[in-house]
Each structure stands twice: as C-alpha cells, then as structure tokens.
C-alpha cells in the first residue's frame, strides 16, 4: 500500500501543470462554497447575533410546566426561588443569579397601547451584569425601593412619545388570572439600538411586581448570568439534576421563535447549496476524466510491464483521492483567507438601516463568518467526487488490452 501511495503521489507531481489546474479548480470551488456559507451564516448572525448579545450567556430556571406554554407567558411561581438561587451560585460558571417575575402586559397612554412583556427585576443584583443598566440613555436604572416606576426602551418611548417623568398605564395579569392595572412613572429609558425588541419589554422592580401581581416574596424565573459565553450547555446539564422539578434552559430554548427562523432560512439556503456542490462536482469530475484519459497510453505501458489491472486501478484511484486532499486543503486555506478578509471589512448594508425595525435585530453591517459550518460535508463531497472521478476511467483503462492502449493517441 505504501508503495502505491508513493507511486500515486509521484505521478501527481510528474504532471505538475495538470495537477495544478485541477487543484486550483477544486480549491476555488471549495473556497467559493465557503464564502457562500460564510455569507449566509453572517447574514443570519447579523439578524440574530444581537439576540445572542442581548440574551447570550444566560440560563433561565422556571417552574415545571413553563416550557409547554412558553409562547403565552405563563405565570407559574417557583416553589422555592431562594433555594434555586443558592444552588445556582454554587456553580463556578455562574456569575449572577437573580429572581425575576415575567408576565404579559400592556402599556398605554393617550398615544396608544402596546403589548409588552413586563419583567420585574432585582435591580441591585442585576445591575452589574445588565446590558440594560449599561445603556440608560435618559433617567436612571431601577432601584429596589422604586414603586410606581417603569423602565422602558427607546423604541417604545418614541412610539408612545414618552419622556422621563411621564405617566402611563401599566397592565399585567396577576397570579389569580386577573389583570392588574397601575399608573406608573417612567423613571428611565434604555437604548440598545434594537427598536423592535425594546418595544416589547418593560422593566419594573421586583418588589413592585410582587405587590402588583400578588406574588409576595415569590418569583417566576431565575435569570442566571454566566461568566463566559458558550458554557450554557454544560451549565444547564450540571444544574438540571440539582434542581428536580424545575426547568433549566438556555436562551435558545426559551426563545424558540429565533431558532425557528434560523432553521427555516437554513433549509431554503441548503437546497441552494446542494445545487452549488453539484455544479462544482461536475467541473471536478470533468477535469479528472480528462486527466485520466490523457494517460491511456501510460496505462497501457504499465499493463505491458505486467502491472495487474487491479493494481493500475488502485494507483489511479489513490491519485484521485490525493489530488482531492490537496485541493481540499488549498481550498480551505483560500476560503479562510477570503472569509477572513471579508469578515474584517464587512459588507455595508447601512443604506437599508431604516429597515432595522423589521429585520428585528440587524445592525448596519453584515460580516461573513469563517463559513466552516458545512466544511466537513463540502470537503468530503469534493474528496469523494475526486476519488469517484478517477474510478471510472481507471477501471476502463485498466481493462483495456495493453497493446491497444499503448497505441492510443
């Protein structure tokens, strides 16, 4: 086997020019496919990446039964919120664990009415890790002692023409399935640059939420902030056995609509990318066919020297795979450079920035990712095609009468 490999490798570089052409074709095709993947990924991330920024590094603990109704803001108090906080803080990965009350509600004033999620937070606990606290554009962040105060996003403030100090009506459903209404004063306005998500959440202090929704000393959610992004899954699996009867989930599971949108977008895009592989595959197949047929005479010579057809086929197939390997390696290199440089510059879509409302969470620029998500599949496809492409002509050539093949021009 070693011998055949060596033979095949040498053969490859005996025809440097031909090999280079094939390798370049493979590499470019692969690199372009990576660019495609990188762009598609980058685009999704531009839309949803901010969601990761806002929600990432977070785990939430809810009472049993929450998950099944996640779309409709169920209000299920945690059996023992304090115990959950204690448990969570025992883990090294956890930075902060804070109690929250979350419910569906409505804010209204003379300008109109807006359905929102009302979140009661423990301001002193959350302040150090809160993105909201970092981005207060007017007024101030909440304090535990605040009553009749609400913190709203800039998007909502603009729509309702609210200033700090303005009054509005806040409605939310309480534990007894009653809607509770209260007049509240805007104490601060936060600005994340994400108008549509700002529009949908308003914050009040936990104490006020407990009073308003009849949840004395209770909470419906524990918000856990991790020290490091990307440790969500490990922490979830570590916490789950320690919290029986609770649902421990990362943000991805708690915001299923984000996952769905990404999934279906990818489904359409992957149909396109399969066709892309087919195009590249046809090209590579073609080149390899040409290369092997060009060497019919050489094959005849090998046959005349007594090399068995099986062995001839093996050499050629090995050549095909080797060339595939080289092509894939070069392709990955070129692709990374391509995506890396584009990823640094970014594609400027800021002329469409007016659409940020609709695009949910997109900001002005789209940065392609490394595009390595589908790399294994794509690289393997190129490799398999190059092996297969060598297979057919190699068998055909190996079967030929040496004498005839020798005379082939």
């Amino acid at each position: 086997m070693r011998l055949y490999l060596r033979l095949a490798w040498r053969n490859l570089w005996r025809h440097t020019r031909r090999t280079v052409i094939i390798v370049v074709a493979m590499a470019l095709s692969l690199a372009l496919m990576m660019l495609y993947d990188g762009l598609v990924d980058g685009f999704s991330q531009a839309i949803y990446g901010n969601a990761v920024r806002v929600l990432g590094g977070n785990i939430q603990v809810h009472a049993a039964g929450y998950r099944a109704k996640v779309d409709s803001n169920p209000m299920i108090p945690l059996p023992d919120a304090e115990a959950v906080v204690q448990q969570a803080l025992e883990s090294d990965a956890v930075w902060v664990a804070a109690r929250r009350i979350r419910t569906g509600g409505l804010l209204s004033n003379r300008e109109g009415a807006f359905p929102v999620t009302i979140v009661g937070i423990d301001p002193e606990v959350e302040a150090p890790v809160s993105l909201i606290a970092e981005h207060i554009s007017a007024g101030r962040f909440l304090m535990a002692s605040d009553t009749d105060s609400v913190l709203v996003g800039k998007g909502l403030a603009e729509a309702m023409e609210l200033q700090v100090g303005d009054r509005l009506t806040l409605v939310g459903s309480d534990l007894h399935k009653q809607n509770r209404q209260r007049t509240a004063t805007v104490i601060g306005i936060y600005d994340l640059g994400l108008p549509s998500s700002e529009k949908s959440i308003a914050y009040i202090s936990l104490a006020e939420a407990q009073a308003l929704f009849d949840l004395t000393n209770q909470a419906t959610e524990i918000q856990i902030t991790l020290r490091q992004l990307g440790t969500e899954d490990d922490t979830v699996s570590a916490l789950t056995p320690r919290l029986p009867g609770y649902e421990v989930e990362s943000w991805e599971q708690n915001y299923p609509e984000l996952g769905n949108a990404l999934g279906s977008k990818n489904a359409v895009m992957s149909i396109f990318s399969v066709i892309l592989v087919v195009i590249a595959g046809i090209g590579i197949l073609n080149l390899l066919l040409m290369a092997v047929y060009e060497r019919t005479r050489e094959i005849g010579l090998l046959g005349a020297l007594g090399v068995k057809p099986r062995q001839i086929a093996l050499i050629f197939i090995l050549e095909g795979s080797l060339i595939g390997l080289v092509g894939v390696a070069l392709g990955i290199l070129v692709g990374l450079v391509l995506n890396g440089s584009l990823g640094r510059v970014g594609l400027d879509y800021s002329q469409f920035a007016g659409m940020t409302e609709y695009m949910a969470l997109i900001s002005g620029k789209v940065y392609p990712t490394a595009g390595t998500g589908n790399l294994l599949g794509r690289g393997l496809t190129v490799l398999i095609i190059s092996t297969l492409a060598a297979f057919v002509p190699a068998i055909e050539a190996a079967r030929r009468e040496p004498a005839e093949a020798l005379h082939y021009v």
């Binding site: 409709s72 169920p74 399935k177």
Partner: protein, 404 residues
C-alpha cells in the same frame, strides 16, 4: 465567422462527454440563479398579496393624525361616522368593496397564560372579510350583533388550547387612554395560512369593538379593495380630501419593497458566487483542453492561422457551451421554478414582525429576471474562456509542434 463556429462545434463534438458535462455545469449554474431569484420574488410577492388581502387593502382611508404604529383610539385620531364615507365610496365604480375597521391593542388571558394581540373590529357581513370567513377551521364566523364572541387564529388557539365555545378574557385599550376587560367566548378558529398574522390577531364584530373600547361611532380605518390593483393611484387621487389621509397599497407596503431591495442586494453577491464556481469550471476545463491540443494548435499556426483566429475558435467553443448551458439552465430552472411555484417551500412561522410572510413561499419568476440572469450566465461563461483562449493564441508554433 460561420467557419469558426463550425470548427468550434466539431471540436466540441470530438469529446462529447466532456462538452456535455461542461455545459451541464453551466446549466446547473443558470438554473440555480433562476431558482434563487424566483424564490426571493415569490417571497416578496406573497408578502405583498398577503398584506393587501389581510391588512392594508388596496387603499385605506384614515384620520389625518392616525399613526398605524400607535394603535391610538383617541377620537381625534379616528374616522367619525365611517358609514357616510363608505356610502360615498361605493358610488365609485372602481371600488369593489369598502369596510370600516377598528383596531385596538389588547391582551388575551386564559388561566396563567397571556399574550399581546391586536383586536380588530370588523363588519362580518362585508365581502372584504370573506377571506376570514372562508378560513374558518372550527366553529363559526361572527354575527354582526354578537356581543361576546371573538374569532382567534389557529396558532393562538393551539398555544392556548382553545376550542370554539371556550371563554377567554380580553383586555383592550380605550379611547380615553385607559383599558377595559371583559370575558368573551371563542366562536371560531380561523387560519389565513399566515402565522405571523394569525397568531396575533383577534376579531370581534365592529359594533362590539366600538362599545368595548368606547370609540363609539368611530373607525380606525376604512379598508378598500378595488377591482384592479393598478387603479389604486388613480382612485386615491380622485378621493383625496382635506379631512382624511388616503393611502395606497404601494405606500403601505414600502417596507416590503425596501426589504426586497435589501434582499436583492444581498442575493447579488450570492449570484456572483454561483457564477464564480461556474466560471472556475469552464476556465479550468478549457485550459486543460488547450494543453491537450497544444500540438494541434501548433500545426494550425504553422499553417498560417493567426493568433486572433485561434482565440476566436476557443471563444466560439465557449459561446456554444454557454448557449447550450443557458438553454439547459432555462429548462432545468424553469422546471424547478414550476415545481416550487406549485408546491412551494414550506417555511412555517418565520418569526418576523412587521411583514406578513405566508407559511409557504411560492416561487415566481419574472421574464426580466430570467433574461438578465441568462445574460449574466452567458457573459460570465464567455469571460471565463478569455484566459484559455489567449493562452492558446500566444503559443509559439515551433514549440507547440514539439509538445506531446
């Protein structure tokens, strides 16, 4: 010229399999471009048709100060006495139907679950609301006099586990800037196959919505369907008045048009990637062919053929490949588009706000897209042949003759 083409044709014929594969690669490239363009167009066209059907209509009349993003119910933001306006409208021959709608923000509450919804008061007897009537999946449609019945969309009904006959609590904002709440019975569950709309829209009869939200004899907007979509501008100009704002479906759908432009700008890059791969295939195959035929080219030039002519020969080959490829691409792409135009891509709830994407995208290919993408494929394929062709033209005859 004809001579060149003939020679190119024969050269291609010398290695049929290779020529076929090359032009097949071009075909797939062109087909993919067509499909991508058709899916994008279809998506946006579907969104516009959905919006017109469900939300915007062809024309809408609103009070001057009404802002659709605020869902205000203050009287000064509403149309007073909509019936009189509709009476006038129905005298216009282009108007198919006009109906008042009252829109309030609300919360639907059932047990410990609640969700923000838009509560829309409609006139159940208006033909404009036939789309909801025919979308009833369970239970019945509303009666104009019904004072405690609502319709909910399928996704909402599923989330809340609602059946016709179930009671839910609905809270809405009111004209005086506060809120009111009442129990309603679910009369029916509807679906418009547009999850983005269905999951957040609850209907009740207009009269009930007016008393519930204290809007009395006011409406948020008058929803108008025309006989012909194209007449919107003309009719809008005809009914323009000092007292109201008249909006056409074009202006109400600016967001979608903008989105389409945005998506188009993004797609162009993807198109170039596809064409880049196709071009790589063509260039490399031809380069290989040039090396393969080095001796032959040497003989040709030794016989006095000029570099220019040799180049023309290769370009002609590429032109023929491109022609075959584009024709094949139109066929393949046409078939793929026809399939997806019929059965569509099911994308489900896309989770986007502000734009009513249907649950299924039906591909839609315009002649203009087909033409410009075919032309792009053709040009790129020809351009890809330039390097190999000039390579062939520059070969030194004496050296080329000695190649093996």
């Amino acid at each position: 010229m004809i001579q060149t083409l003939k020679m190119a044709w024969r050269n291609l014929g010398r290695n049929r399999r290779r020529s076929l594969l090359s032009s097949l690669a071009v075909s797939f490239g062109a087909a993919l471009l067509l499909l991508m363009a058709a899916v994008l167009r279809g998506e946006m066209r579907g969104a516009i048709q959905n919006t017109i059907r469900l939300q915007s209509g062809h024309l809408q009349i609103r009070a001057l100060s009404y802002d659709e993003n605020k869902v205000s119910l203050a009287w000064e933001d509403l149309i007073a006495g909509p019936d009189a306006v509709i009476q006038q409208l129905s005298a216009i021959p282009q108007v198919k139907t006009a109906t008042p709608r009252l829109i309030a923000s609300g919360i639907l509450t059932l047990g410990d679950q609640s969700r923000g919804v838009q509560v829309v008061g409609i006139d159940p007897d208006s033909p404009a609301n036939q789309v909801f009537r025919s979308g009833i999946l369970a239970g019945s449609f509303l009666d104009a006099g019904d004072r405690e019945g609502i319709l909910v969309g399928r996704p909402l009904a599923e989330n809340f586990g609602l059946q016709p006959g179930d009671q839910v609590s609905v809270l809405v904002n009111t004209s005086d800037g506060t809120v009111d709440e009442q129990l309603f019975a679910v009369r029916g569950v509807y679906s418009t196959n547009t999850s983005a709309y269905d999951e957040g829209t609850v209907f009740m009869p207009l009269a009930k919505a007016q008393t519930f939200s204290r809007a009395q004899d006011h409406a948020s907007s008058i929803f108008i369907l025309l006989r012909e979509q194209e007449q919107a501008e003309a009719v809008a100009a005809a009914i323009q008045s000092q007292a109201y704002q008249v909006l056409t479906w074009q202006s109400m759908n600016e967001l979608i048009v903008q989105t389409e432009e945005f998506a188009g700008a993004y797609m162009v890059i993807l198109y170039f990637i596809v064409l880049g791969i196709t071009a790589t295939v063509v260039t490399n195959t031809l380069v290989m062919a040039v090396f393969e035929r080095t001796r032959e080219i040497g003989i040709l030039s030794a016989l006095g053929m000029k570099g220019r002519q040799i180049m023309a020969g290769f370009l002609a080959e590429a032109g023929l490949l491109a022609t075959g490829g584009v024709i094949g691409g139109l066929l393949l792409g046409g078939l793929a588009v026809a399939y997806f135009a019929r059965y569509g891509f099911y994308i489900g709830d896309f989770g986007m706000t502000g734009i009513l994407l249907g649950d299924t995208i039906y591909a839609y290919l315009t002649a203009q897209d087909a033409l410009s993408l075919s032309a792009a494929t053709y040009i790129i394929t020809l351009a890809a042949a330039f390097y190999p062709a000039s390579l062939a033209a520059r070969l030194e005859p004496a050296e080329a003759l000695h190649a093996h």
